[in-house]
């Protein structure tokens, strides 16, 4: 991802301690930094109605098209979305996008050796927004990251035909469109704290916990 100077400075302001450590220690960052400064999409499952507007706007925002030289949002094909709404029976709609897990099991699972200069594996945490990024040149397409995410967390990584990880939340460069356009105010862009419920687990697990709360 290309980061503009302005974005970089904004990122520094958001969490300078975290950023400083990231560049040296890769995924080990945030427990060390002491101040938790990751902002992520936080979902209020009590408000979601399952309309999937977030999928359409995410897709449009992250897959722009060029029309007569002008960059425009894409059509909104939900298949390209980095947020997915999983529908369950009894009726529960579970939107899940990258939790930006503090311990990032996806990066832990990446078998590519950390770069001696940057400390980064092929999968790494972006300096500015702490999003999960993939270095296309170093990724070997083994899909270990996707497996780890699916087994332990939200299952948000969908590898492409070459096995390259896709669909990790970009936070739309600090202005997440899903949050902006969620008609039900179910999505927020918040600094994450350890006490936030229903994070860093599989959609099935979230569904199970919610089903117990709603339908028993």
């Amino acid at each position: 991802m290309k980061v503009s100077r302005k974005d970089f400075i904004k990122g520094m302001l958001l969490g300078s301690a975290g950023v400083a450590v990231t560049s040296q220690l890769g995924f080990m960052t945030f427990s060390i930094s002491g101040t938790n400064s990751i902002k992520a999409i936080v979902i209020d499952y009590s408000k979601c109605t399952g309309c999937r507007t977030c999928e359409a706007v995410c897709s449009a925002s992250n897959h722009p098209v060029s029309v007569a030289g002008e960059a425009l949002p894409g059509a909104g094909n939900p298949d390209f979305s980095n947020i997915k709404v999983w529908h369950f029976n009894p009726p529960l709609d579970i939107p899940v996008t990258c939790f930006l897990c503090e311990d990032a099991p996806c990066i832990a699972a990446c078998p590519v050796k950390p770069d001696t200069v940057t400390g980064r594996k092929a999968l790494y945490r972006d300096d500015v927004f702490q999003t999960i990024q993939n270095d296309l040149n170093r990724c070997i397409g083994c899909q270990s990251c996707a497996d780890a995410c699916r087994e332990e967390r939200g299952g948000v990584i969908f590898p492409d035909d070459l096995g390259q990880p896709q669909r990790m939340c970009t936070l739309c460069q600090g202005n997440p469109q899903c949050v902006k356009f969620c008609p039900y105010e179910a999505l927020s862009f918040l600094e994450i704290t350890p006490d936030m419920p229903l994070r860093m687990m599989t959609p099935e697990k979230i569904n199970q916990l919610l089903a117990e709360a709603y339908y028993q």
Binding site: T49, L72, A75, G76, P78, H87, P91, Y184
Partner: protein, 602 residues
Amino acid sequence: MKFGINGQLLEVDLTTRTISRRAIPESYFEAFFGGRGLGMRLLYDYLPGSGTDPFSPENPLLFVPGLLCGFPFPSASRTCMVTKSPITSPFKKKSTYASTVSYSNMGGFIGPEIKFAGYDAIVVTGKSEKPVYLFIEDDRSELRDAEKFWGMGTNDFDKAIMDELGDRRFETAYIGPGAEHGVLFGSVLNTAARAAGRGGTGSVMGSKRLKAIAVRGTGMPPIGRHKAYTDLLKKTRVSFMADSESKNDWRYGGTANAIEFSSNRGSQAVKNYAEGSFVGVKNINADAARQQVWKRDLACYACQLACKKSGFAKGAYGGVVHEGIEYETGTMLGANLMIDDLNGLHTLIELADDYGIDIISLGNVLGFLTECREKGLITNDFLDGIELQWGQVAPALEMIHKIGRMEGVGRVASQGVRHLAELIGQHSSDFAIHVKGHELAAWNVNGYAKSIGMSYTTANRGACHMNGGKPKGQDQSALRDSVGICSFAASWYRDDLHPAMLINAITDSNISISDYDKVGERIFNLEKLMNFREGFNRQDDVLPERFFKDAHTIGPQKDVLISRAEFELIMDEYYAERGWNPKSSRPEEEKIKMLGLDFVQL
């Protein structure tokens, strides 16, 4: 049209087990859009002619997403089921199987997914030897064994098919045991509760031994004018997002808001339409449901209204999870049966949806039989000992089991009120509430003959409450069903967000408002011509006797009766405005030509 459409249909012959892709002529989209309109145009092509047995392999069953389906405009999620009706018939039969066209609309997620998979319609013909389901994943499609799913309730099936597919991104639509057994008013459901309930489209699906379709798509049709599309999409979203009373009402109570509203104005179906107001209405209204049963608000694809509610009923019937109540379901199984036990009502709705039977027709059948029993026209033996009584949940539950399984009295009850009245006789046809054999919905007629009364009598699928009373309104209703916009969201789509502008941007067309309106008129008249071909004429456009004879005894429409002479005058005006011959009912040549419907062979 070159943009905004896939231009393809998937043709499935269940007899020969062949599946093929076929191009849909561009002119079909221009003249009929998608959904109901395109479905009717294709129905005309696929039907061998008039008099086709609705349950024969020759009767096609179509799944047709609206033209805008798949583009994330709020509420543009509607899919139309189209086929030849197994329920309706004219007074004077030209042939054994004469029946009207049938269409039934559902929201949810199946329509967009069909578009994503690359199709504008799925056309199913033939009849499978064994139960199957149709599997579609983009280009790949096949018929899969559904023997193990046959007989399964819709709720269990909804879960079981997900386990089999192993991917929650699939969308499914399916029938329940009712339609499998041959109940005439079988529905097609998706997400276990969103039903294309009316007109027996599920029954046709059952006759073909097609349990379900399961669809997963990853594509999207190309957009004609991308910038205009982007701007319109944003404008539409922002317009919906603005705080409005209408939006808040939909979110609060959905259609259930109308339960009390309708009772207060005397327009509710109560006690088999004998009354228009319900004394127990406060026990089953939206406030009660919100306090006692509803748990979550649910929206269809990209919709901002979330009018659907999931509920959890406790009490005598145990923990029942289901979506509901709505105006139609809550009235037809509540007020119309004088039932005001909210948990019981919720359970009745769940059971009916689990059997996959249309709750509107079902509520009529139960109301009609309860009245017959009360009047002593049938014995307890006729009802297999089920003591149907106003206000009683338990016998109604028993009766739904009988109908859903087509056991005993269920065999005749599953054929609708007209068949029951023919069987029972003794003037019971006076209070068998149907038009052309299709039962009326939850809006009562006395006091509202001009609007809802006309809507029922002149609808092309038999009684229909979504049809509208006047030609212009009816054409707009046909347009909504064809564009795929939900009628509940229609008030947002006007002026600079008029559907014609959306269509122009997406398909790169230059359709004027009058072109657009003409498409609606064309669709309605094509349906009418197909019905005329079957032998339907003006004498079939008639209201049940009850509305001319029995006035309500309570409420604001108390003592109001419809005058036969007055109603005929309204019908005269209607026929004149339509350009239909007032006697023969045939659309005049000039009208047929003007609408470009001269291809129809009468």
